[in-house]
């Protein structure tokens, strides 16, 4: 396995710097454009699903609507609430936006992932990947960014000095933190297959010969679908998107943590939110659907990487809008129950099951015995958890009967 961008293995000179600069600017522009598209796409599609017209004035099919809205934000008055903690109030949008950008830097966007090419392209005589950076801890960088993004939400709500933002941000922080655990656990299954934390390696692993010649070699299938489902659910919750949008439940919290924000500061939060949606889809595609890897047909092989990536990405963007248009919002106790009592135990158990099966396969143990033992252990664990939940429910009922509920 060969991690690390080959661009930096040689001497570092001006040409390398220029290539890096070009890649950064292109990635930046690409991300902004895709976010503008996503906002329009969500409004249009959601309108279609609820039998409305949606944006249809600015440009053909209203496609320039987002741009128009964005420009309008510049001309709106920027208010700094009296009770706000000024410095933190100003800092919070940055803490939301910058991590949203950074996640995109480890997403492979293209390249030919065959055994010879290894996803390497040659630009101006230098070999590099079609991804901004490939640090050896790529996946952890993604998790780190999402844990920093929590600060944007938390501090925005607290520094506003107002009731609704504070409530929204406390809810949001607890929610994001809870689902981050499930998110991290479900990724471990993918890491086990790749034997590496680098996102490029993960795409390489999924680019090989497919299962049975028909199914692609995606981690989605190789990890047995469960981690994928958990990751998508936890990812949706991490984004605070419906049905997990209790953070900005408008009936109770007005706008949630950004109620007091106006003008461009609000626009930055809005941008970060949709950027996170795009990058989360990109992460799902990279980890579970093989990223830009896929069969090539006619024309230059290099063309197909971005095409595959974009079409897979589009699938998940569609899914997020569909979820929003379809599902009602969770209740807070349902949200917490789902995260802690369902997703975390299942992802942990599934990960250990996969590991024991693989280790058993390597050691030449009888697979059926191992699977039987695993099922037994899983059953015991399930009974313990179910017993604990039942005990707690009984205690609470008793407490309520005695009228001493806290």
């Amino acid at each position: 396995m060969f991690a690390l961008d080959p661009l930096f293995s040689g001497t570092f000179d001006g040409a390398v710097f220029l290539i890096v600069l070009a890649k950064v600017v292109i990635a930046f522009a690409l991300l902004l454009v895709s976010v503008l598209f996503m906002i329009w796409f969500e409004r249009k599609l959601h309108a279609d699903m609820s039998n409305r017209l949606g944006p249809n004035r600015a440009g053909p099919f209203g496609i320039l609507q987002t741009l128009a809205d964005g420009i309008k934000f510049f001309f709106k008055e920027d208010l700094l609430p009296d009770r706000a903690d000024k410095r933190i109030f100003i800092l919070a949008p940055f803490l939301s936006l910058v991590p949203a950008f950074l996640v995109f830097s480890v997403i492979p966007l293209g390249g030919v992932f065959t055994a010879e090419k290894q996803g390497i392209v040659t630009v101006f005589g230098r070999e590099t990947y079609v991804q901004l950076a490939d640090p050896p801890i790529g996946v952890l960088l993604i998790l780190a960014c999402s844990s920093i993004a929590v600060y944007g939400v938390m501090l925005a709500g607290w520094s506003s000095g107002s009731k609704y933002p504070l409530l929204g941000s406390v809810r949001a922080t607890a929610q994001m933190v809870s689902y981050e655990a499930a998110l991290g656990l479900s990724v471990i299954a993918v890491v086990m297959l790749a034997g590496s934390l680098s996102t490029h390696d993960m795409v390489m692993v999924q680019a090989g010969e497919g299962f049975g010649g028909i199914l692609p070699r995606w981690n989605l299938i190789a990890t047995g679908v469960v981690p994928f489902v958990i990751f998508v659910i936890a990812g949706t919750a991490e984004l605070n998107r419906p049905p997990f949008d209790l953070v900005e439940a408008e009936q109770e919290l007005v706008g949630g943590f950004h109620t007091e924000y106006s003008s461009i500061r609000f626009a930055l939060f809005f941008l970060a939110e949709f950027m996170n949606t795009v990058t989360m889809s990109a992460i799902i595609v990279t980890l579970f659907l093989g990223g830009p890897a896929g069969p090539t047909f006619f024309g230059p092989a290099l063309m197909w990487g971005p095409i595959w990536f974009a079409s897979k990405l589009f699938l998940f963007l569609f899914m997020f809008v569909w979820l929003r248009a379809t599902l009602p919002r969770f209740r807070y106790d349902q949200l917490m129950d789902l995260g802690w009592k369902v997703l975390i135990p299942i992802s942990l158990g599934w990960m250990l099951l996969l590991a024991s099966l693989n280790v058993a396969g390597d050691a030449g143990w009888n697979t059926f015995v191992v699977a039987g033992a695993a099922v037994l252990i899983g059953l015991v664990a399930y009974l313990m958890l179910a017993g604990a939940i039942a005990t707690s429910a009984r205690r609470r009922e008793q407490a309520e009967l005695e009228g001493s509920i806290r």
């Binding site: 690390l4 930096f8 570092f12 890096v20 930046f28 510049f74 709106k76 008055e77 920027d78 609430p81 009296d82 009770r83 936006l97 950008f101 830097s105 901004l132 950076a133 490939d134 640090p135 050896p136 000095g161 107002s162 009731k163 504070l166 409530l167 406390v170 922080t173 607890a174 933190v177 655990a181 991290g184 656990l185 471990i188 890491v191 590496s196 934390l197 007005v254 109620t259 007091e260 461009i264 500061r265 626009a267 106790d333 349902q334 917490m336 802690w340 009592k341 135990p345 990960m351 590991a355 693989n358 280790v359 050691a363 313990m384 958890l385 017993g387 604990a388 707690s392 205690r395 009922e397």
Partner: protein
């Protein structure tokens, strides 16, 4: 370290982007604040009280439990990278590690640290206000509360 140069540059670009849009908006936007505009938003009502001072301790507990799980996860990542080389020994170690976390998790659950909603109602509701009615018909479930003849809920609570 070169690997992180693009990440660093993207961060700088993102900060610049946010800062420049901020400055641009400052130049373009009108500034005519009033006290009313700058007061906390409370749906048009003049804010009387300070913001909440105390929150349920459960939020704090969640953050505490998360630390434990976060550390568990961060230990699992390096193991997942080379678990095939470590073989049965490594798997056993991780199982023991997970078991200890599971035990404390079970303790937490049984103590209700992760319970949020109201306790389950064990009271049997009258058929007039059963959940079936709401899923079967579009008639909104109102029950018989406050009606002279059939104050069902009240009777049951008394019983």
């Amino acid at each position: 370290m070169g690997q992180y140069l693009p990440v660093f540059m993207l961060a700088v670009l993102a900060i610049l982007f946010a800062a420049i849009s901020r400055v641009a908006s400052q130049l373009l936007a009108p500034s005519a604040t009033t006290v009313a505009k700058r007061s906390p938003y409370e749906c048009g009502i003049v804010p009387g009280r300070e913001t909440l001072e105390r929150f349920p301790v459960r939020f704090y507990l969640i953050a505490m439990i998360f630390i434990v799980f976060d550390i568990e996860i961060i230990f699992l990542y390096p193991w997942a990278v080379i678990y095939r080389n470590l073989g049965a020994g490594g798997l056993f170690e991780v199982l023991v590690f997970t078991l200890s976390v599971l035990v404390s998790f079970v303790y937490l659950l049984s103590n209700g640290a992760l319970d949020w909603g109201p306790a389950k109602q064990s009271r049997v509701l009258s058929p007039m206000v059963s959940a079936d009615r709401t899923t079967l018909t579009t008639v909104r479930r109102v029950g018989l509360d406050g009606r002279p003849d059939g104050d069902v809920n009240h009777d049951e609570e008394a019983a």
